[in-house]
Symmetry: C2
Subunit: 200 residues, 2 copies
């Protein structure tokens, strides 16, 4: 019995199944979509995949992904270079940019301390952060790591490493998400929100 599709379709389904967040059914759906899509759309997708590896590199200053190093943010004289926001991944830079609340620069660590996955402080982009502190006139470092175990461990490590250098080290506020419901907040989040209460 034919339990796999004929050649090219099965290869396409297999290739899509390897991507994160796409299961066998989703891969099949995408393969048939591409089969009936315009020549242009499927060529654009194939080219975008080939292109990204060739063109994308990491910024020599902040470690963010970019096409030119230094990246547009590091090279922008209108940004406040006395402020560095430390994040785990390039996509976190985009999340903070979307708030339109931040005018400083970034530093991308490339992950967080995670003993289970064998990621230690030596695997993170920390030496270049220390280099920036020597040359730039940095006044504040904002630690914007994920609020989970790995992020907390990395925040604690960096806080102890950087505080003795005489630079203000801050971290993002923990508390209730805007639009959420007190009833459904978990105890730890609610406890943090209480501890971090402000005058109304």
């Amino acid at each position: 019995m034919a339990l796999a599709y004929d050649g090219a379709i099965q290869r396409l389904i297999d290739a899509f199944s390897h991507l994160p967040g796409i299961g066998p059914k989703g891969a099949q759906r995408i393969a048939f979509y591409l089969l009936s899509a315009s020549e242009e759309e499927s060529r654009d997708l194939a080219e975008a995949i080939s292109e990204v590896k060739e063109k994308i590199r990491f910024c020599d200053i902040c470690g963010n992904v970019c096409e030119t190093s230094p990246c547009p943010i590091c090279a922008d004289p209108r940004r406040d270079h006395s402020l560095i926001c430390v994040v785990e991944e390039p996509k976190d830079v985009m999340s903070i940019e979307r708030t339109r609340e931040y005018r400083g620069t970034y530093h991308v660590l490339g992950g967080a301390i995670n003993p289970m996955a064998n990621v230690g402080t030596n695997d993170l982009n920390i030496p270049k952060l220390l280099d920036r502190l020597k040359t730039d006139e940095v006044k504040e470092i904002i630690l914007a790591l994920d609020p989970n175990i790995e992020g907390e461990a990395t925040t604690t490590y960096l806080s102890r490493l950087l505080s003795p250098l005489g630079i203000l080290v801050t971290r993002l506020a923990s508390g209730l998400p805007v639009g959420s419901d007190l009833e459904y907040a978990d105890e730890i989040t609610l406890g943090r929100a209480l501890a971090g209460r402000r005058e109304a």
Copy 2:
């Protein structure tokens, strides 16, 4: 502010966002995955996408997707060519093949009657089905369309079209899915299961 990624990454995210079942967050996740994936994996994916359009065609007999026409199922002398299972899409052929219960051939309509989407009987691969009835010694046609409004309409239409030709026309059984719970079955499914009850 930089609200989009630098060039190539944003183009890749946009290209993936157009695919069915992938939202902006999923597209971003895939783009960063490909950025850190091996050269080989990303090349395989790009090639599979380019290749599928060039190589895949439709079987002249049954309308299924294939690399060579007739497709491997239509060309297989060990299959029972007196039995045709009519389905909506190529992926339905694969679903039935996976049951390992069927040894006949298929006919892929390419959809179902759907007035809302302007799909009428003229848009379906029905003329070639009638051609097969003239030449092949077909004894039974199994209508295996989706059990929804469009599938039911198409089943009724085909049943009326084919029954006068003196060929046995059957349809898939409706009833409770195996492993399900009577309590959670909807009324229509439970009603069909009752109407189609068999001696135990």
